[in-house]
């Protein structure tokens, strides 16, 4: 493959797509948010169960492409055990690096498989797919902090 397909659809990504982690809805979430990508119709719901400020469990149910599904799966894997603020910082760092062709995710954030998603930077049309779970996370965390119901987030906002 010479067209960047191996960069976009890395084996790690395909694996997360085939067997998405944390892809079941939670029975008792402490916060949840819905996200959608209006340009393509992809939708997901993201739920977090917390012990105080620490995320105990994440449920990300994605109805979307492999990139969105894999991104949600990586998110579900990465945020468990982090505080809500740490999760939000990871989301901020990921969103920033997606718009910086040379940027890297700081090691101290322990980005795990998230590095594998940076291949989308060569495909501007797909950045929204990778971002969708993370902007939804940001809204879920904000809603939790502010003690309100999360608004539906969209990639167009």
């Amino acid at each position: 493959m010479s067209t960047g397909m191996d960069d976009l659809y890395r084996e790690v990504i395909l694996d997360h797509h085939r067997r998405p982690r944390g892809s079941s809805a939670l029975a008792h979430p402490d916060t949840e948010a819905a996200g959608k990508n209006p340009s393509c119709g992809d939708e997901l719901t993201l739920q977090l169960a917390c012990d105080g400020d620490v995320i105990r469990e994440a449920g990300v149910v994605t109805r979307g492409c492999a990139i969105a599904t894999a991104s949600g799966s990586i998110l579900a894997e990465l945020v468990v055990g982090r505080t809500l603020d740490e999760a939000r910082r990871l989301a901020d760092a990921f969103r920033a690096v997606l718009h910086d062709p040379e940027g890297e995710l700081p090691d101290d954030l322990a980005p795990g498989d998230l590095d594998a998603l940076l291949g989308v930077r060569r495909f501007p049309m797909r950045v929204k797919c990778a971002v969708l779970p993370w902007i939804t996370l940001t809204e879920a965390v904000a809603a939790r902090h502010e003690g309100r119901v999360a608004a539906e987030t969209t990639t167009e906002a």
């Binding site: 010479s2 797509h17 990139i67």
Partner: protein, 431 residues
């Protein structure tokens, strides 16, 4: 007799794609050499363009005519006494007459020149607002493009109208059995697409028009997917208003038309105001110019009007009947090959003669965006998503479909490339 029976199938006796290898059963595409873009490569591979339902490619003579306009004739229209202004106005008005002739419209004033089919549908909806009262009903269909749905939603919200819709059957056709119930004494407008941009379904417009007219409702047809691809005769369809765009018909972007009966156009209020659409203006009052200029405020896309007749010339050179035969052949072949792949759901009627030149499909194991991305890596351009028809996708139970759509330049080889591309995508995903 339904409109389908009337005019939409390729008439018997139409020549196959003569001059192509092995005739239309296995042809190399028509007029390919006239479309310069088809000579380019994508990712180092020959371009296989299967997205003509989004926009068709443009032949050299259209590109040349648009460039010639700017080189030789550029001026604003309907104003100014100089030679260039007269030439530009002449080109602009020639296009109107040419479009009228192409669609079998008797008077050029029945053709309103606008920027897109969307603009035309917005004029139809907005222009009728003043004739509608709260509680009046608009009937749309479950297979409309957002361009022929959202203007009616907005109008209904603003004017307190009731929006109803004619549902789509599991077979991808309009559920005509529901029509008698849905057409009521309060139905003022019926808005429907001629050819679905997702299902490909060719709707029996004439039949629906007859039923709507019996109720006194006005019929607005979205012909964006049909003009230039299958025979469209405005009078035969019987619609009151018909919208289409040039760019899906081998013409330039930025140009669309609203074609109407003189009676229907006389009912419309302008929705855009400014220069060129007025008759007399004082500091606090204005009167409108005659139809159609009253709907054409502002400087139009004159260059596009200078170019579009060349696209219609191409269609008429081959004849739309022959182009239709060609698209039926390609669609039938693609349907067969896509079905044979297995694991794909193909949407809409299976009979290629009952559908336009496009097929939407989805693979439950492979999201349409991933499929389209991997096809692109093979040089194959298809559309993926909801195709601006979210309610229909909800009805189909899928968020997104992939769509392959054809123009006269497409060949059976292009279909083969699509099939190979799907195999490649599946191999990447290990499905």
């Amino acid at each position: 007799m339904t409109s389908r029976d009337q005019a939409l199938n390729a008439p018997a006796g139409v020549e196959p794609c003569a001059g192509q290898r092995d005739g239309c059963e296995r042809c190399g595409g028509l007029a390919r050499e006239r479309f310069p873009i088809l000579r380019r490569a994508v990712h180092g591979l020959p371009l296989v363009y299967l997205d003509s339902a989004a926009t068709s490619q443009k032949p050299e003579q259209v590109i040349a005519a648009e460039a010639r306009y700017y080189r030789e004739h550029n001026a604003n229209v309907h104003r100014g006494m100089h030679a260039l202004a007269a030439e530009a106005t002449d080109l602009y008005e020639q296009c109107r007459r040419r479009v009228g002739r192409f669609l079998g419209v008797t008077r050029p004033e029945q053709v309103v020149t606008l920027r897109s089919a969307t603009a035309a549908l917005n004029l139809a909806a907005g222009g009728l607002a003043h004739r509608l009262r709260p509680g009046d009903e608009i009937l749309v269909t479950g297979m409309e493009h957002h361009a022929n749905l959202v203007p009616w939603i907005a109008l209904a919200r603003r004017e307190g109208l009731v929006l109803r819709h004619l549902p789509v059957t599991d077979g991808g056709e309009l559920d005509l059995g529901r029509l008698p119930d849905l057409l009521t004494d309060r139905t003022r407008v019926v808005a429907l697409t001629h050819v679905s941009n997702v299902l490909g379904t060719i709707n029996p417009v004439a039949e629906i028009v007859a039923a709507a007219h019996r109720r006194g409702a006005l019929v607005v047809v979205d012909a964006a997917q049909s003009v230039g691809h299958l025979p469209v005769n405005f009078a035969a369809l019987g619609a009151d208003l018909l919208a289409f765009s040039a760019h899906k018909c081998y013409g330039p972007m930025g140009l669309g038309f609203l074609v109407g009966t003189p009676e229907a156009l006389a009912q419309l209020e302008p929705v855009e105001f400014g220069g060129e659409m007025i008759e007399t203006v004082t500091m606090d009052a204005a009167t409108w110019a005659a139809v159609p200029l009253r709907f054409e405020a502002g400087t139009p896309h004159v260059a596009a009007t200078a170019a579009f007749p060349a696209a219609l010339d191409l269609v008429e050179e081959y004849t739309v009947e022959r182009l239709r035969t060609h698209e039926i052949s390609l669609t039938g072949y693609a349907w067969e090959r896509l079905s044979a792949l297995g694991g794909l759901t193909l949407h809409g009627p299976a009979d290629p003669a009952a559908r336009g030149g496009l097929i939407s499909f989805h693979d439950p194991q492979l999201h349409a965006h991933d499929l389209a991305q991997l096809l692109d890596a093979r040089g194959v351009a298809v559309r993926a998503g909801h195709h601006c028809a979210q309610p229909l996708h909800r009805r189909l139970g899928v968020a997104a479909t992939a769509r392959a759509s054809f123009g006269l330049y497409n060949s059976h080889d292009d279909v083969d490339a699509l099939i190979e591309g799907i195999r490649y995508a599946r191999s990447v995903f290990g499905t």
